[in-house]
Subunit: 204 residues, 2 copies
Amino acid sequence: MTLAKARPRTRIQKKNRAAILEAALEVFSTHGFRGATVDQIASEAGLSKPNLLYYFPSKEAIHSALLERLLDTWLDPLRAIDPQGEPLEEVLAYVRRKLEMSQSLPRESRLFAMEVIQGAPRIHDVLSSDLKQLVDETAALLEDWMAQGRIARVHPHHLIFSIWSLTQHYADFDVQVRAVLGREDPFAAAPAFLETLYRRLLTP
Amino acid sequence: MTLAKARPRTRIQKKNRAAILEAALEVFSTHGFRGATVDQIASEAGLSKPNLLYYFPSKEAIHSALLERLLDTWLDPLRAIDPQGEPLEEVLAYVRRKLEMSQSLPRESRLFAMEVIQGAPRIHDVLSSDLKQLVDETAALLEDWMAQGRIARVHPHHLIFSIWSLTQHYADFDVQVRAVLGREDPFAAAPAFLETLYRRLLTP
DNA sequence: GTCTATAGCCTGATAGAC
DNA sequence: GTCTATCAGGCTATAGAC
């Protein structure tokens, strides 16, 4: 008998759990929590609905597992800013990492966007505690750099918002961006555009 | 998208149709199309479900009516850019108008965001025809201005994306922005931040 | 024009055979 | 561990009384 939170032990269990989370990411990120159906997730994972519910006790549990796993990795680029580094280069590297995440993990970005647009009912506490603290710390660091004249003055919190916004836009609004650009790949010109933008904004 | 039906004639009909669209905006913008229920919309509009379905033939029809009404007003700020105006001021005025729309029409912004994140199944044609054309025209205007040295060189399409992204972020991610800022009103510092950003980016 | 009643399907979740 | 069968409730939409 295994505890509810114990890691899966067999190869089949690992494979099925992974398939479920993969399918759930696809469905939740395009339809939101209420719009997603267990049937659809099970079908995309290649399992029957009851079989899926053998691995996760409920729809809610799948969604929580996804969000939990996501929040871990989602804030890593922010934590990776080095207070000892060269200020402008640190910011540009952060922008680059966030943009790469939009390109390589667009569904994760949309899952997060969905949750927040819907009022963040499941992660509001994390946003106003852990996230707020991390952002406040980073904002303080940015303000130091500004006070030392190493980057130009702007509102540090809004600077961080702008980075989130500009990078995640390429994942969340991918369809619109591609519809407007036609054949041109969004990620061809985006890195240079964002680098130019933040160089001009922050060069003292 | 379906064509608009005949306008309602009586005062009661006008009032009820307006109440339904108002309620539907609230529900669709927070739960997406599939996550929204006719029951919830009817209840928020103060009508019974069958009564609601007397005014609109289906859930789909309500959603279409909302999107149709929205697309009209959503692109007005872009159309209002004056080719004869002073380039930098025209862009800044566009940014200002878009930000004001995020503040005054956040649910409309989220409705649009939801639709696009879900793959824009109902407006994809409009995006790649009407919207693309409008953006291409504006991009051409921006390129003229850049060629004349009246604003600095950047990728014109990505410049437009950046304006959408930065302004709509304050509506779509309102919950997150407020969670991070605490007591501070997002719209207090946002206008100045965005003006600074685009002045530094575009001043030749 | 608005209601009650309900059709008919889909939902999340469970029971029990194998 | 995985399946078929199934539940109770929620879903969109319709029928028909008034």
